[in-house]
């Protein structure tokens, strides 16, 4: 698996599903507490990391609060939850 296959760009629909999942889980920015995010790439972690289940991804989220000091965060999702 090269670096290009490690991270994948998401479609608009997939991004929407990620945001929906984040909202349902009450996911908030660890720094400022905001619940509004921009969705980035999805990193497939199921293959690379020992502790991860086979279908796991970490999706990059960027906090939309301009004053947030650590805006880059991520949410762990199963591929089946957002990649369909």
């Amino acid at each position: 698996m090269g670096s290009a296959e490690e991270r994948r760009e998401l479609t608009d629909d997939q991004r929407e599903r990620v945001l929906r999942e984040a909202e349902e889980r009450g996911f908030a920015c660890g720094c400022c507490g905001s619940g509004e995010f921009k969705v980035g790439k999805a990193l497939y972690v199921g293959f690379l990391f020992l502790s991860e289940n086979h279908d796991n991804y970490v999706v990059a989220l960027t906090c939309k609060n301009r004053d947030c000091r650590t805006p880059r965060t991520g949410i762990k999702l199963k591929g089946a939850e957002f990649l369909y």
Binding site: G2, E6, A42, F47, F49, L50, G74
Partner: protein
């Protein structure tokens, strides 16, 4: 001239028995760490022609070559039980003694004229050697050559072992040194590549084992008492005493092996310090000054470069990776005039990006060929300006070995040290790209070291901090790196 069995020949013969036993056993320990043999420098999984393991690797999870390591019994390997560090120490210290003994032996052969016994001066020796084999197979003893102590097949066999097989093993062993390969890429190509050299080295081992078995059989066939008398007393006298002394000597060799093995398993740190003191001096003298001059072609790149080590299994790293390492920074400090911090973007925009296509040598024996791009480390060194007392660089990584490397012995943050002079080598690189793409996570993203004259474990991956120090004895167990501390490798590993 008279071909006898002078005292020096008999002493060297006995020393050789000890050396060969340790060389073979420690060689098998080294083989156990990657019990597969290849013809291609790609070492592609599944392409091995020789396989000495039943392990099957998973397809749905990242595995590394530490997972492929086998644990052999101490009955066959030295010291056994998956201790590559100790196997390497025994192999290298023994090979030094073996080579020195061999040089003295060959010198004395020529000084005294005894070498004539091993040289076939007539082409007739070759058909006679074949006749000798047929004679042996007919359960009879062939006659010796006129004026010689040996028959034709003995002369050819002994001559081949001394003047062909022994140098062959030394040269194929040297061809597996990353320092020699990096400085003289033609030398490793001469053997057909690094994995050819490793495979040929294995065949050399088989040839030695085969020779020893046949040699012992022939001694028995010719008469154990009279034959051992020649090598014990120098002439055919007191055969019973000769046999008793021979058996006692062989029991002594076994006892020596048992004691050495038990001590190595119980006190590996002492072996590492004692043997390392000798081996490191030789390496620093012979291999350390060699600089890498490799430039493999694009067509030689390994399609799927093998992996060792597993990435940091922690959410902060995964989130950083998901964001293409935008938040990554590396600190460079310690004994420097100007401590600095760089982002990945800082490193990428350095004007002196360097690309090199090189052979990667894992300490376990596999190889792959990769293209690496990044910044020559010497440029970072020149920027931060080491203080006069700085002697080594410590590469601290994001890897927690207890969490990330369950196959490895030991715990704690992974780190490695290198000597400062290696940082100035022309192909010592802080690499952020591999094969024209951002460095993959499994190969150390976002930043790893490339140090082409050393084996792979020195090339720290997932680096987060570089520290200049005067001495590493207070870091970890004080041996110069996590693997040195925990699996007893040497700090300088040009072979």
């Amino acid at each position: 001239m008279e071909f006898g069995y002078p005292w020096w020949l008999r002493i060297e013969h006995f020393a050789n028995i000890i050396f060969m036993v340790f060389l073979i056993r420690s060689g098998l320990e080294i083989l156990a760490t990657h019990p597969k043999l290849y013809w291609s420098d790609d070492s592609r999984p599944g392409s091995e022609w020789g396989r000495f393991t039943k392990k099957v690797m998973p397809k749905d999870k990242l595995y590394d070559t530490l997972d492929e390591e086998e644990s052999y019994s101490s009955l066959v390997s030295m010291p056994g039980h998956k201790m590559l560090g100790m196997g390497r120490h025994w192999h290298f210290i023994t090979v030094l003694g073996w080579i020195m003994t061999g040089i003295i032996y060959v010198a004395l052969l020529f000084i005294t004229g005894q070498y004539h016994r091993y040289v076939p001066y007539s082409w007739e020796v070759f058909p006679r050697a074949w006749q000798d084999i047929v004679t042996y197979l007919s359960f009879d003893l062939p006659p010796t050559l006129p004026g010689q102590p040996f028959n034709a097949i003995q002369q050819l066999s002994y001559g081949a072992v001394i003047f062909i097989l022994a140098p062959f093993q030394i040269l194929t062993g040297a061809a597996q040194s990353p320092a020699i390969e990096a400085r003289f890429p033609w030398f490793v190509r001469l053997w057909g590549g690094r994995q050819w050299a490793r495979s040929l080295h294995f065949f050399g081992l088989l040839a030695f084992v085969g020779f020893i078995v046949i040699h012992l059989l022939m001694v028995t066939v010719h008469g154990f008492g009279p034959e051992t008398a020649k090598i014990v007393f120098g002439r055919e006298e007191h055969p019973v005493w000769a046999m008793l002394i021979t058996f006692a000597a062989l029991i002594g060799v076994v006892i020596l092996n048992v004691i050495a093995t038990k001590y190595t398993l119980s006190h590996p740190r002492n072996i590492q310090r004692w043997f390392g003191a000798v081996i490191m001096k030789v390496r620093r003298l012979g291999l350390h000054p060699l600089t890498s001059r490799q430039n493999y072609s694009k067509s030689e790149l390994t399609p799927e470069h093998r992996v060792n080590g597993k990435p940091p299994d922690v959410d902060s790293y995964k989130i950083m990776a998901a964001h293409d390492f935008v938040d990554y920074t590396i600190e460079v400090g310690g004994l420097v005039e100007r401590p600095m911090t760089f982002t990945l973007e800082d490193l990428r925009t350095f004007p002196t990006k360097q690309t090199q296509r090189v052979l990667h040598n894992c300490v376990q024996g596999w190889t792959s060929i990769g293209e690496w791009s990044g910044i020559p480390l010497r440029q970072i060194v020149e920027l931060v300006k080491p203080l006069p007392e700085a002697r080594h660089l410590v590469f601290w990584t994001m890897q927690d070995t207890e969490r990330d490397e369950p196959s490895a012995e030991g715990v704690g943050q992974f780190y490695e040290t290198i000597d400062l002079d290696l940082a100035y080598h022309p192909q010592t690189l802080l690499a952020y790209e591999m094969n024209g793409e951002p460095l993959p996570i499994k190969h150390g993203a976002p930043l790893r070291l490339r140090l082409e004259t050393q084996v792979g474990f020195k090339m720290a991956k997932w680096i987060e901090r570089i520290e200049f120090v005067s001495d590493y004895s207070q870091i970890g167990e004080g041996m110069g790196g996590w693997r040195e501390d925990n699996v007893f490798y040497d700090q300088d590993v040009g072979i």
